[in-house]
Subunit: 455 residues, 2 copies
């Protein structure tokens, strides 16, 4: 059919996780730097609308840098096949004393986590299944675009769904007069006991979790998520509820919300809820919950909702997850100066931004990537002393990261201090070897290049 084409198909490789999708530069000019700086982000692209066309082009070609870097880093076809393998959820079986049963849990690490020694906030999903990969892909995308941090996803599969996700015991009257009985319903608080006293401690023992937890649910899971946010404020900092079944038990949880929120002086949490083209009691619950938030809100409380007229009940999740995550991590990106395209306030501005974020979110947010990116943007403009200051600050703040030494070496080399550069690349190689950092081959090539006498 195509005699002109010679093709080679590699075998399907095992998935051992995914490369950091953020291995990007901001254009062809930054290609070499991007290769040795796994965490430089295309910061300029966020302000490209104010730049002349040429800069726009450079800002936009960061994908080519990434792809070129990926290609360069492949030493074999098998390795390449792994490059794009998305994270595979791990299965965890938790024996619950509270519920007197085994619970199957899926845990998905973010794509960015491979070889990194970082801690991540956690999204807990009810009805854990394919939605673990769906929200995981959104997280990888938004984290790759530097609009939110990478998150761990924990999907809780069901045993008795109606029991666990309903806050009160109820039967359901049909319009034809018949009654559907749900004898096990009303177990949400017991299920929350399991989550709080057994699941969360287990996750935080086994995985590099930050103490920032988001509860995410759809339908009855959305009902449960809203109930959880109100009843366990110490457990969850944020909630995403898509198509929540607020009609359950004659709007029991809605009525609680109508009392709860006006009674809170301070509630430093985020709630996002959404509905599709859904009618009847579903729509009434949604509309009435919106009304709760028309008037003044508790201090620190962020609430947003969306009505997707072009989605149906079964399709509200993806957009709800996307918009919910954007809402929770609103203000994540360092503001840029439209004149320079760089972080507003420079190095101090970046640190201040992340201090503020850390305070608001209640966990330590890393400024490493932003500082690294800032340093390379200075280096690109031949501001070597500025770049040195940025990279040295990263070494002070994040001595456990191999990349900070590799980046510092770039600036030292630009200053002509080849011996100092060599010493820092050696540190990067040593550290990356110990931690299994996927950037190790790039650091090694950097070392080889520095050791090769120039012609």
């Amino acid at each position: 059919m195509t005699p002109a084409s010679q093709t080679m198909l590699t075998s399907r490789a095992p998935s051992s996780g995914s490369r950091d999708s953020r291995r990007v530069g901001i254009g062809p000019r930054y290609l070499l730097r991007a290769r040795r700086s796994s965490h430089s982000l295309p910061q300029a692209s966020s302000v490209q609308e104010n730049r002349p066309a040429a800069r726009t082009l450079r800002a936009m070609s960061y994908r080519s840098a990434r792809v070129a870097v990926l290609a360069l880093m492949c030493s074999s076809a098998i390795l390449c096949a792994q490059e794009l393998a998305p994270p595979v959820p791990q299965k965890l079986t938790v024996r619950s004393q509270v519920l007197n049963e085994d619970r199957t849990i899926w845990v998905r690490m973010p794509a960015a986590a491979q070889g990194r020694n970082e801690r991540y906030a956690v999204a807990y999903l009810t009805d854990g299944g394919a939605n673990v990969n769906e929200i995981g892909a959104i997280i990888d995308f938004l984290a790759g675009a530097n609009l939110m941090p990478p998150l761990i996803v924990v999907g809780i599969t069901n045993t008795d769904r109606v029991r666990d996700l309903t806050p009160s015991k109820a039967d359901v009257k049909n319009s034809d007069g018949t009654v559907d009985s749900y004898p096990t319903s009303g177990g949400a608080d017991k299920f929350l006991d399991f989550v709080q006293s057994e699941l969360v401690p287990e996750i935080e023992k086994r995985y590099p979790a930050q103490p920032f937890r988001i509860i995410v649910g759809h339908s009855l899971g959305g009902l449960f998520a809203i109930h959880a946010l109100m009843s366990r404020p110490q457990l969850f900092q944020a909630c995403i509820a898509t198509s929540p079944s607020l009609w359950w038990d004659d709007f029991h949880t809605l009525r609680q919300a109508q009392k709860f929120f006006p009674g809170q002086k301070e509630f430093p949490k985020t709630l996002f809820f959404a509905l599709g083209r859904e009618g009847g009691p579903m729509a009434k619950g949604f509309a009435d919950l919106r009304k709760v938030f028309i008037s003044e809100q508790p201090k620190g409380f962020v609430v947003r909702s969306a009505h997707y007229e072009d989605e149906v009940h079964r399709s509200t999740e993806l957009r709800g997850h996307y918009e919910g995550l954007r809402t929770i991590f609103s203000g994540w990106t360092v503001p840029t100066d439209p004149k320079t395209g760089r972080a507003r306030g420079g190095l101090a501005g970046i640190e201040q931004h992340y201090r503020g974020l850390s305070q608001r979110l209640g966990f330590q947010v890393s400024a490493e990537r932003a500082i690294n990116s800032f340093g390379y943007s200075l280096l690109g403009d031949k501001n070597i002393s500025g770049a040195l200051a940025a990279f040295q600050r990263n070494v002070e703040l994040y001595p456990g990261s191999a990349n900070v030494y590799d980046s510092l070496a770039d600036a030292l080399e630009a200053e002509g201090k080849v011996e100092d550069a060599l010493a820092n690349v050696r540190k990067a190689v040593d550290l990356a070897t110990r931690t299994g950092d996927p950037e190790l081959p790039a650091f090694r090539r950097h070392l080889d290049r520095l050791l090769t006498p120039r012609k």
Copy 2:
């Protein structure tokens, strides 16, 4: 830390693809049927807004059915770990005579494809990389919600990005008077020669592809995608362009579009394009392209655009892909009768719907899942003769599918024809064994159950 919890962590299993995420029923009542009917969809949930609360609950608990089914099908921890593994893109190296170079291509099969003998439309992505998994996750979600068909994703990685993605040779003047030179630019038509004469034939030889191709691109890739739609109408049926760089070469491609579209009498294709909070020439190109489509459109042409004020250049892709796919496959779902919650026009209505879809899209769209789902909804309401008619029709239309025999067996069993049911389940088991259908264990259990004398 949690002495009460006994935990078991399975090893990270190799990814050999993903289960069909559509193994769902429409509620607890349908659990057993859903288990033996991998393709029954929660059709009722699409109209749940008009149902009383109890039906809403049933419609909404399809996830529990899916998860329960997944749990039941797991025979070992390792197998379970694979259940949620998302598809892993395969690497294909294509030797191009046209470009005189090797091209690296990533091919991602949809999650729904495992063990299925079906053909899928194909989305071709420029800047192939992490976006392959991102759009793949959207496709799996929307296909799982029965809002579009599963698609194969083909990601084309770059060698010389500016060369391949720009339709004309140009240098770029900066506002400070300097000029950035792009000496290799203007190679889009040659790159399209490669796509048309080498890549597409290779993909359609190696993968189960339908002759329906979507070109998807971002930034310069978006510019390229719009150029491709106009210049190779025989190659692509649809185009998704996010943040297209229409400013390239003094709006060269925009000017072509201004001439091209008003000159077409008929253009049975779909174009979706989107922009973020982007200014300058980027915004001008977008606004001017929108103006092209204010007046009358060519016959059969569907065009839609979106301006995402809360996205930046680097973050328009995900929402653009989602909305673009929804636009291209608008009208995919069989319309339902709000009174019954079932397909409007019954079996004949379903077939008519898919005939219309097939005609509009230009490839044969399978009605199997919809007919199967319809049959089970009749069976659930004890309309056995109706269910038999639906399942028998599926056997006529799709004799190569194992599931159609298994479903027919359910209706035959309900009618008391156990011997006929047995014969059909045996057919399902035989066929599934030959094709490697992942539903084989479920068919086997069905067979065992029929062979076990009732107490």
